[in-house]
Symmetry: C2
Subunit: 347 residues, 2 copies
Amino acid sequence: MKDIAKELGVSVVTISKVLRDHPDISDETRERVLSYVKKVDYQPNVLARSLVTGRSYLVGLIVPDLLHPFFAEIAKSLSQVIGGKGYSLIIASSEEDPELEAREIRQLQARHLDALVIASCALNNTSIDKLALHNDPYVLIDRNFSKVKSNFVGTDDEAAGRIATEHLIQMGCRRIAHISGRNNSTGYGRLQGYQAALQSHGLRYRKEYVVSRPHVDADSIDQGKQAMQILLGREIRPDGVFCYNDPLAIGAMEKIFEEGLSVPDDIAVIGCGNLHYDSSLRIPLSSIDQQSHAIGRRAGEVLLEIIESKVPKPPQKVVLEPTLIARLSTMRNSAAHSDGPKVKTKK
Amino acid sequence: MKDIAKELGVSVVTISKVLRDHPDISDETRERVLSYVKKVDYQPNVLARSLVTGRSYLVGLIVPDLLHPFFAEIAKSLSQVIGGKGYSLIIASSEEDPELEAREIRQLQARHLDALVIASCALNNTSIDKLALHNDPYVLIDRNFSKVKSNFVGTDDEAAGRIATEHLIQMGCRRIAHISGRNNSTGYGRLQGYQAALQSHGLRYRKEYVVSRPHVDADSIDQGKQAMQILLGREIRPDGVFCYNDPLAIGAMEKIFEEGLSVPDDIAVIGCGNLHYDSSLRIPLSSIDQQSHAIGRRAGEVLLEIIESKVPKPPQKVVLEPTLIARLSTMRNSAAHSDGPKVKTKK
C-alpha cells in the first residue's frame, strides 16, 4: 500500500479509503487509485488494512447443520453481501449440540472477528449472554431469545405455523397433527401458530397429535420417519400433518408410503422452509417459504451497519413474512369441492 | 497465555505446545496445563498462538456452489477434521465463474491463510499456477489439473462414468445418451468412462447423444431440463441417460415427466454424486456415490500434514473409488429377464 501511495503521490489512508469504498474521496482520485491498483494486480494486504481500520474483515457464521439447505442458502447469500465489502465468512457447524455451539462461539470470539452470525441450537441464552457481555457484535438469525436484546433477522414463525395449518384445514383436513421443533423461538412460534389456527377454526387441540423429536435440524429425514410412525400409531389416525421443517416432512412422507398409505388423500403433508428439491420429490411437497435467501442478505446488511457505524447502534429486529407454497402433497380430492378461497398452486 | 504460564510455572511455548497437541511434552505437564485451562475456561488467544507458530489457523475453501449438497457435504466434513485441530474454515463460492474464482483466490491469499482447498471451476490452470508460484499450500478437490503437480483428493471419474454407463447397458438400454459436464477433469473423465463402456459392449458412440450445458454446478436442475429437451428432439430417442451430476439428472427426469414419458421404462436415468435427497424423489434416482464425506475428510488430513510438516512434502494424490447405488430410476422391466450379473438395489 505504501508503494502505491508513493507512486501516486497520495497518502496510505487515501488508498485505504478508496479500497474500502469510503465516500470521502474525490472521483478523480478514486479513478486514479483504482486503475493503478488494477494495473499492478494489487492484492490488498488484509493485515495492512486491518492495521488502518482495526478490523479483521472476518465474519463468523454458526449454524446447526451446513447440509440442511436452509442454512446453506443463508450462508450463500450472507457470504455474497459481505464479500462485496471485502469481508470473508468463517463457517462453523454446531451439529445441533448446544455445548459444541458454545465452544465454537468461544473459539470464534478468540479470533477477534468483526461480527458473529448465529442460528443458535441452544434452548437457553447462556452463550448469547456471554457474547453480549463482551460487547462483541453479533446477529441472531432464524432463532431469537426473548430475554436478550439482540440484533435479529428471521421469519414470523407464529405466522408460518398458522398459514400452514390453515392451509391444511382449507384442504379439508380435520385431524391435524404437528411434528414439532424444539422448545426454541422457531419451534415454539410454529407450535403457537398451529394451535391458534386450530382454535380459530373450532378444531380441538389434541396433545397426542403433537410429536417432537430430540433432533430436528440434523438427520431430519430419519427423525421425521420416527415421528410419523408414532402418529400412525395413534388410536385415530391424523389426516393432515404440519412439519416443523421440510426434511422432517420428507421423512414423514416416506413413512406414510412405507405403510401403504397415500399423500395427500390419506394424509396431507406440509413442511416449512421451501427447500430446493421440494418440487422434485415423489410427491412434490407443500411448504412455507421463509425467504432464506433474504435472511442471509438482511443479516449481512445489519452486521455491516454495526461494524461500519462509528456509534453503537440499538439492536435491530427484522422479521420477514412467510408465504404459502402449495404443491401436490396437500392437494386433496376432498378439497376440490371446498368452498374456501382459491389457493395459488405452484408446481 | 502468559498468565497461565506464570501461574503454572512453565513457559508460554510449553502451553502453546500442549494446546497444539505437540508430542514433545510430558504427560504430567500436559495434564496440568489442560486441567488448568479447563478450570479457567481459557479461550486460547489465536493472535498470541499465531505469534508463536507463525500460522493463522485459517483454511480457505472455494467451491462452485455452496447450495449444491455435494460441496456442502465436503465443507462439513472438512470443517470437522480441521476444527478438531483448532483451525477454522473460511468459505467462498465461485458461483461457477472462473473470474470470480480467481478473485476469491487472490483475496484469500492476501489473508495469509495456512492452506487453501479448491474445487476449481476454471478450465485452465492459470490461477492454480499462480498459487503454486507463491508457494502457498493448497489442495485441489474433485477437479484436478493434469499440467500442475498439486495435492489432490477426488474420485476416479473415468470409473464413475464407466460404472454408470455399464449399469444402464445391463438394465437393457441400448441408445445411451450423456448430459455431460464441462471440459475439466471431472467432466472429461466421466465422458471418457461413458465412451469406454459403450465401446467395450459394442455399442456405437453417437456425438448427437452427448449434450453439454454452459453451467452444470449452479442452477443445475434447469440446465438438466434444457439438455433433456435437446435429447428428446433427436431423431431416435435415447432409452437411457447418464448425467454428469444428480441435480442435472433431477432436471432431466422432470423434463421426461413433462413430456408424458416414464422413468425408467421409456428412459432410464442415472446421475452422479448420490445426494441426500435422491431416495425421496418422485422416482428415486440411481447414482454413483463419490464418497463426498471422505473427500472433505481426506482433504483435511492432507492439508494438516502439509501445514504441520517441518519439511516440504511432495504432492499427494488421493483417488477414491466410486460405487453404484441403483434405485428405481434405472430398474427397467426389460432388465428383469436380463442374464447380466445381479445388482445390489438400495431404496
